[in-house]
Structure formats: C-alpha cells, structure tokens
Amino acid sequence: MAEVLSSLSDALAGAVETAGKSVVRVEGRRRQSASGIIWSADGLVVTANHVVTRDEDIRIGLPSGETSDATVVGRDPTTDIALLRTAGGKLTAANWAKAANVRVGHLVLAVGRPETTMQATLGVISALGDAWRTAGGGMVDQYIQTDVVMYPGFSGGPLVDVSGGIVGLNSSALAQGVSLTLPAATIGSVVETLATHGRIRRGYLGIGAQPVRLPETLAEQLGQEIGLLIVSVEAETPAASAGLVLGDTLLALDGQKVGHIEELMALLTGDRVGKQVAAKILRGGEVREMKVTIGERNS
C-alpha cells in the first residue's frame, strides 16, 4: 500500500533534512528567534534584515545544536537581507537550486529553525514573474510567490524544492498577505556588495515630501494627477544645494514621474549616487526644471 505516497512523504522529509544542514537559527531580536541560511562554509550567513533588530549580541544556532556568536557584516533594508558572519569550519553552505527549473505548480517547502529542531511546511509555487522593486526601493531579480504559510520564525529561512535545493530566502516583511521569496541571484548580488562595502548605496535628496493633487488644468497638461509637495528641506543637502525650497512640488526626477514617496524612493538607487539628474518641479504655478546631484544616504 501507498508506494507513491510513501516515496513522496520520504522525499519531502529528505528534502527538509538535506536543506536543513544549511539552515540556522538567528538570535538577533528580543522575542521570537528566526532562521538563516549558511551562504559560505567560511561563516557567512544570510537572513532577513527585519529579524536582526540589534547590531550586537547576535547568536547563530547551528544544525549540530551548537551556538556561535555572529556579527553584522551589512544590511540591505530595501531587499530585507542582512549578512552575518560567524566562525567557519563545520558549516555546510547552501546548495542553491537552478532558478530556471522552478515552475508554477511545483511543490516547495518552507524550512525554518526558530528553535533547535527544523520545522517545515508545504505549498506550491503560486506565481513567477519578472524583476520587481520592493516598497523600500530594492531591486529583486525574479518574482517568486508561494502559498506556504510563514510561521513565526520562518523569515530568513529557505524555500526548498523537492530535491532539497534552496530556491531562495523567505521573508514575511516583503509584502502583506502573500508569501514572497528572494531568488538566489538577488541574494548573491546583495551579499557580494555587503561583503565588499558593508552596505548598499542608496541615494539621498534631503527633503520631506507628501503627495498632493495637482490643479486640474495642470494635471491634464502634464498627464499626471499627483506630485510630491516639499514640506521640508534639510540644510547642506543635495536638495538645498540644487535650490529646492519649501513649497515646491516635485513632479519628476530623472525623467520619471513621482506621485508617491515610494516612487521617489525607488529612483534613489545606488547607481544614481553622485549623478546630476533633472528635477521637474512646480513653483508658483510654473513648471521648472532644475539640476540636482544625488547624494548618498548615510544609514
């Protein structure tokens, strides 16, 4: 009885066991510990940034049951990735699955280690899509949505295919109401930047702004209903140097319309830091174009 079902059950448990060798517990916040993935045998661990709320006193719970201290190498809040370093040695680096092999409808497991033992839950790949930008402005190479339930402490752990390969990193903070997974390619590029520079460069203007509805005739002319009213300009910032003042309404930056803070955030990418770009603004009822050199955000 139950040949195929037995094989399926064994395969699922086997996949969890295989992947679990690279899944650690991350103790980096007050309450619930979360999970992380061993990136390299020399001690790099990737996890979700939102589960590492402190910068010191971080511990990693290894598959062997031992715990070891860890430090923060760097954080990228925009993709919700944090890179930690712990002692290398008896670590098994993650075996990443080929992204091209993942298809909608495939069975996948979310694996976590919020405590000493591995925990797992099953679901299917619900949707795959192109590159997308997170609310925080981070660029993600592929959209991966599943119907796995993210239990407490599963963030930072892997999405695992049926052969135990790791498809990506699960984070409950990327979107509300859906389970999204960061693909290996994105983790790879963020890890590389964090390991080299310790940070992800983000652009900075130095303004506070809020969305406002534009006058109807102007909206028709511009083909844009909402702009960003500048409500504060910090001294000695790119915005101040460019001559932006309180009361200006920002309409577009570098040729892209901005009606919401998220849209502006998404434009303040690392590759724009130090570049002079056009800022289209509304001042005294007139549309003007100014030049602003994007600065770099400190934190």
């Binding site: 139950a2 839950t121 407490p152």
Partner: protein, 214 residues
C-alpha cells in the same frame, strides 16, 4: 506524470478508507460532536477529553450503528478520554511510533469537521514540538501539522502514509497549524488506564494522579 498523480490520489484514498474502519463519531445526546478511534477490538474508544461533556455518550460505528458508550477514563490535562462500548470483534487502529518522525513528512487528518462524516484534510508535519508560539498549554508536547482542523475533527486520528496513528487531532494554534496529542503520550495514557483498572483502583486515582478513572 499524470499516472503518478493518479496513483498518488488512489493511494491517499486507500489510506483514508483504511483509517475509516476504525473511526467513530462521538456525541453527547446529539449535542456536541467529535471523532474517536477504536483502539481495541473489544470496544475501547479513544477521543479528546474536551469532546466528552457528560457521562451519557453515544458512539456511531463505521457501519452506521449507534451504541451507548460509557466513560472509562478522563484526563483533562492531556485532553484524552477513553470510552467503552459493548461491541466486540472490532477493527482496531494501530498506534504508530513518534520516534521516527521527520519535519516535512506527509500526514492526514480524518474526522467529522462541521459534522461532515469522515472528511479528510492533509498536509505535512511541521515539527514535534513544545516550542511553537501561540500554542495552548505551554511546554506540552504536540505534533504540529500544516492542516486545518475544525470543530468535529477533535478526537480523530492524525495518520502517516501507512495509516498508522501518529496523534489525536485536538486543536488549532495560530492561523494554520493543527495540533495533535502525540502517539507516545497516548500510549502512556492507555497504559496508565490499563494499570489503574487492573489494580481495581476506586473511581479515581489517589492524590489526583492522572488519569482520572470514572
């Protein structure tokens, strides 16, 4: 490919058929409903303590026959109860082993959710844990599975792919976690009850030792 899924479906249905031979329906004079499992051929029925609201109970057997049942033992802390019916030569559920459990393995729950007799839900084992947060009775051992338990599932079996009893479905925790009392806890309970009955203990054990024999 399609053959494989077809075979998978057939095998899951076989497991359910097998399990249903030992699945009963427990009612309190038609009031509340729960599930129960035949654990001995001479009519011992295991269910959740919270399913048993009063001493006058009825058990509906897999063949549809409803018989009176009497409460033998009741353990509110472990949420287990043992009933007895005067029917013999019944098929009994084999109690499985919880030592070999692995996160990710396939499990199925059979019961009577919302009164739908013999309905099934399935998922995988999340963990054998006493660490899940939002769980009732901190520190207790549970089997956690990613499946939906509903009123009427209580007292029903959580089984593995071979139809062996892994746990007694008891409660939901958090949004999508079904919790079951593990088979080893059930074994201990059954042994304690057998011992207490064998020793001709009075109506209940001394010093409030569990389980309470009634």
């Amino acid at each position: 490919m399609t053959d494989l899924i077809q075979q998978l479906n057939d095998e899951m249905a076989d497991v359910v058929d097998h399990v249903k031979h030992t699945l009963v329906h427990v009612t309190n004079n038609g009031q509340s409903h729960g599930a129960g499992i035949i654990v001995s051929s001479d009519g011992s029925i295991l269910t959740n303590a919270h399913v048993v609201r009063q001493r006058s109970l009825q058990v509906t057997l897999p063949d549809g026959k409803t018989v009176p049942a009497r409460l033998v033992a009741h353990d509110a802390e472990r949420d287990l109860a043992l009933l007895k019916i005067d029917v013999t030569e019944l098929p009994a559920m084999q109690i499985g082993d919880t030592q070999e459990l692995q996160a990710g393995q396939w499990v199925m729950a059979v019961g009577h959710p919302w009164g739908v007799a013999g309905a099934v839900t399935s998922g995988v084992l999340i963990d054998k844990t006493n660490h899940l947060i939002n769980q009732p009775s901190e520190g207790r051992q549970w089997l956690a599975a990613n499946l939906h338990l509903r009123p009427g599932n209580s007292g029903g079996p959580l089984v593995d792919v071979k139809g062996r009893l892994l746990g007694l479905n008891t409660v939901m925790a958090g949004p999508e976690v079904g919790l079951a009392v593990p088979a080893d806890v059930i074994q201990t309970f059954l042994q304690e009850v057998a011992q207490a009955l064998g020793n001709h203990k009075p109506d209940y054990l001394e010093n409030n030792q569990r389980p309470e024999i009634v």
